[in-house]
């Protein structure tokens, strides 16, 4: 496959991620920060996100499994996850975290478990998507092409 085609494929894929709401403008900001001084910035940050999220999800599962659930702790974890996901622009994960926090406030264990499930699902989805994206990028770089620069035009009215 020649470079142009791969780049187009990469663009299509990115576009689809935005359209489907997996990523939002923040991700584009991250892509902008990637330059010759910092060539793997996005991958690094996203990997950090994956590590962080997995740890948090494990802690959350553990905390909600207890007999006496410490909602403050659960809330703190969810807050962290929300912060991370919004930092990299994982929109759906962030929204799921917002819902999760509401139910935490209400101290509704069943709803929290449901939310946790949802967050996990969203996280898996976005992780797969991002990993696919990075694979595409690696392929492009491997054949000597460059990843198209995304310049955000005025995004708000």
């Amino acid at each position: 496959m020649e470079v142009g085609q791969m780049q187009r494929q990469w663009l299509d894929y990115t576009r689809s991620l935005f359209l489907e709401g997996f990523l939002d403008a923040q991700f584009m900001q991250l892509q902008q920060l990637q330059d010759e001084n910092n060539p793997d910035f996005v991958v690094e940050v996203v990997s950090l996100f994956f590590q962080d999220s997995e740890r948090l999800l494990k802690d959350l599962t553990f905390a909600l499994d207890q007999n006496a659930v410490d909602f403050k702790k659960v809330d703190a974890h969810v807050h962290q996850l929300k912060g991370s996901s919004s930092s990299i622009g994982a929109q759906r994960v962030k929204n799921a975290c917002i819902d999760f926090r509401n139910f935490c406030e209400e101290q509704n264990i069943d709803a929290c478990l449901r939310c946790l499930q949802q967050v996990k699902e969203e996280y898996c989805l976005v992780k797969n998507k991002l990993e696919t994206l990075f694979r595409l990028e690696q392929q492009i770089v491997a054949v000597g092409g460059s990843i198209p620069l995304v310049e955000p035009t005025q995004m708000s009215f």
């Binding site: 912060g83 991370s84 919004s86 930092s87 009215f157």
Partner: protein
């Protein structure tokens, strides 16, 4: 020997005679003895006999007489001296007593006689009292009847019931044969039989009102006996020869409100009367008694009062019903209006949000698309898509703005901007569309127009765009000219806008913009309607189905907010039209005024050289977010140190750092950290600037942050350009608080 005169002892030969005398004497004696006994017995029985003493005397007299006669029995033969003595004693006593009695009787008999007269007198009196009692009772009865009648009549406020009840009750009380009411007709010239007691449906007899008998009845307030043969009394069809019963008629005044003037009690005012006719049963020998007549009169008066009450009540109830209806209607209208407003607001809110989301996607992706490899034709298409989407976005904003304009919640922004470049941009935007339609576009900016002015750039642009856009829309050929100049007061002695004198002074001036087109023009009569929302010039709709009609209404509101005026002139259909507006703008003497610290716009690509080697410290407890912020600052050329907690931050921070960025999603920690940093560098002049980064708008108050000594506040998400602007602002002014 002395003997009483009653016996003749010289004739002894007649034994039979003697025997009879003997017997008679005996019986006499017996009688004489029994009478007093009877008397005593009956006197004892009766309690009231006043003359006991007389009786005693009388009794004694009789007893003695009897005794005498008894003793006489023994004197028929030869009798001894004792008998004679006894006889004599008895006679003497008898004589005494009888004389005494005789004397007594002289006193007593007149008394007895007067008793009799008194008795007679008392009997008469009793009879008289009885009669009077009867009278009083009748009167009381009458009074009771009146009260009951009145009560019945006044217990209802319905006119018909009142009249009917009157007749029924009167009929019952007085045991009438027939009772009828004649009411005056509308013309007032006749009396119509309205209600009768026995007949269910009175046929509408009418009788002229000026009959002598009627006049007679109307002229007095008493019940008048009338002849049964007069027209008003012929109430029933007669069969037979019996005499109709006596008839009485009385007038019933029909009162109107206007009858009661306060200082002028109605005496002989123009009132109308109804006639009540009462007929006693024909085959009874009854006659009308005075008390019955009085009853009838009283009832007639009561009926009048009751009727007037009923009339007043009817009036007031009608008025009240009317008011209630109006109230209900008003309430309904108000609720409908509220519902409509609520519906509109909800609709706007929803539509606004719903419309923006896909717009967002379209614009974002079109921008992305622009960055890819495209042919020139494709690029043009994409640019058109972008421009159209932006215009659409503007329209969405317009709708929102209009609703906010109407609520009065829209406020103009004041900022410095370049007037000349605004016009240039307008022209650039319109030129392609105009050239497509083969319209020529000319503009002329007066030379004395200031370069930099203060006002709401966005809305001024919207207004101009709208006006020019309309000109282009409604012109099929020809040219469009835009003229901008300073409005002169002399040119404004205009009948169109009285009281408007655009007088410029040092701080502001009035910008006049005139857009002339040679298009289809407008009928002068339609001009007032143009500024109405959603109204479209009907003749143009068929040619230009697009356009919601909001534009001019919004323009007018913006122009009004800018303390100006807008108006349209046109000579008629096909003769083009001219739109002129004047707005007030502020003058500034600085041509390169800084924008105030809110940074909504893209600042463009400055070099990142300003920030090379700028030492900054980033404190964030979230690893991912920390890396992102670090990457951002490094991209801008800063030398970034990171800290993952407040304590680490305090340890690491030094005077070398120029700015400390702290993520304060957790709220209070940020405050405390700022205070501690201040404490650490209390004695030093050039402590690091402290800037808070937060995504949570709810807990943020600028005052709180300033109080703890923060120098700045930025809202997440932060883009590269935003951060660039923030840093330059910060380093220039040493403070930056983004508006929330």
């Amino acid at each position: 020997m002395e003997s009483c005169n009653c016996i003749d002892p010289q004739v002894p030969a007649d034994d039979l005679l003697m025997k009879y005398q003997y017997i008679s004497d005996f019986f006499i004696a017996l009688a004489y003895f029994s009478i007093p006994l009877e008397l005593i017995y009956f006197v004892k029985k009766s309690a009231v006999f006043p003359y006991r003493w007389v009786l005693v005397q009388f009794g004694a007299f009789i007893v003695l007489c009897g005794a005498t006669h008894l003793i006489n029995l023994w004197t028929f033969r030869i009798h001894s001296r004792t008998v004679a003595v006894v006889m004599t004693t008895a006679k003497v006593l008898t004589a005494v007593v009888s004389c005494a009695t005789a004397l007594m009787l002289v006193h007593i008999i007149p008394d007895l006689l007067s008793v009799k007269t008194r008795e007679l007198f008392l009997k008469n009196k009793a009879a008289e009292l009885d009669r009077e009692m009867g009278l009083i009772r009748t009167q009381e009865e009458t009074g009771r009847h009146v009260r009951m009648l009145t009560h019945e009549i006044r217990s209802t406020l319905d006119r018909h019931t009142i009249l009917k009840t009157t007749l029924v009750e009167l009929g019952r009380t007085l045991a009438l044969e027939e009772c009828a009411l004649w009411m005056p007709t509308r013309t007032g010239l006749e009396l119509q039989l309205s209600y009768t007691l026995r007949q269910q449906n009175p046929v509408g007899y009418t009788v002229p009102i000026h009959l002598p008998v009627i006049n007679q009845v109307f002229s007095s307030n008493r019940a008048v006996k009338i002849s049964p043969n007069c027209p008003v009394a012929r109430l029933r069809p007669y069969a037979g020869q019996y005499m109709p019963g006596p008839v009485v008629a009385v007038r019933v005044p029909l009162l109107h409100l206007s009858n009661f003037q306060i200082y002028d009690w109605p005496e002989v005012s123009t009132r109308s009367y109804a006639l009540m006719v009462l007929m006693l049963p024909s085959d009874s020998a009854r006659q009308w008694h005075v008390h019955e007549l009085e009853l009838v009169e009283v009832v007639a008066d009561q009926v009048a009062v009751a009727l007037s009450h009923a009339a007043i009540l009817e009036e007031s109830m009608r008025a009240r019903d009317q008011l209630m209806e109006q109230n209900v209607a008003l309430d309904l209208a108000r609720r409908e209006a509220e519902t409509a407003i609520r519906a509109r607001n909800d609709f706007l809110a929803v539509m606004n949000h719903e419309m923006r989301t896909p717009m967002h996607a379209v614009i974002a992706l079109s921008s992305l698309l622009q960055e890819t490899d495209l042919t020139a034709e494709q690029r043009l298409m994409v640019e058109t898509i972008l421009k159209s989407s932006n215009l659409l976005a503007t329209l969405i904003n317009d709708v929102l703005d209009l609703s906010r304009l109407e609520d009065g919640s829209l406020q103009l922004e004041t900022a410095t901007f370049n007037l000349h470049s605004l016009f240039r941009e307008v022209l650039n935007l319109i030129r392609p569309v105009a050239s497509v339609k083969k319209l020529s576009l000319t503009s002329h900016l007066a030379s004395d127009l200031p370069m930099h002015v203060i006002g709401d750039e966005k809305r001024l642009m919207q207004t101009i765009l709208n006006v020019v856009g309309n000109a282009v829309k409604f012109s099929k050929k020809g040219c469009i000219s835009i003229t901008a100049s300073i409005a002169k007061p002399e040119s404004f002695r205009d009948a169109r806008i009285p009281d408007f004198l655009p007088v410029p002074n040092d701080s502001h001036f009035y910008l006049q913009v005139q857009v002339e087109d040679s298009g289809s023009g407008i009928n002068p009569q339609d001009i007032p309607k143009l500024f109405t929302k959603f109204a479209q010039n009907q003749s143009l709709i068929t040619r230009n189905p697009a356009g919601s009609g909001l534009g001019l209404a919004i323009c007018r509101r913006f122009v009004n907010l800018m303390e100006g005026h807008i108006w349209i002139e046109s000579e008629g259909i096909g003769k083009g039209c001219t739109v002129t507006f004047i707005v007030k703008l502020g003058i500034t003497d600085r041509s390169n005024d800084f924008k105030p610290p809110s940074l909504p716009k893209v600042l463009g690509n400055h070099g990142s050289t300003n920030f090379t080697r700028l030492k900054v410290l980033v404190m964030d407890d979230n690893g991912v977010s920390r890396s992102v912020t670090k990457g951002l600052l490094m991209h801008l050329g800063c030398d970034v140190t990171t800290a993952s907690s407040s304590d680490e931050c305090l340890r690491v921070v030094s005077l070398e750092h120029e700015v400390v960025f702290m993520d304060v999603c957790t709220g209070l920690d940020g405050y405390e950290l700022a205070v501690r940093i201040h404490e650490k560098f209390l004695k030093h002049q050039d402590r690091p600037l402290i800037v808070a980064l937060t995504g949570n708008t709810k807990k943020v108050t600028k005052e709180n942050y300033m109080r703890v000594g923060m120098d700045g506040l930025i809202l997440k998400p932060v883009s590269v350009d935003k951060m660039r602007g923030v840093l330059s602002e910060l380093l220039e002014r040493r403070v930056l608080f983004e508006t929330v």
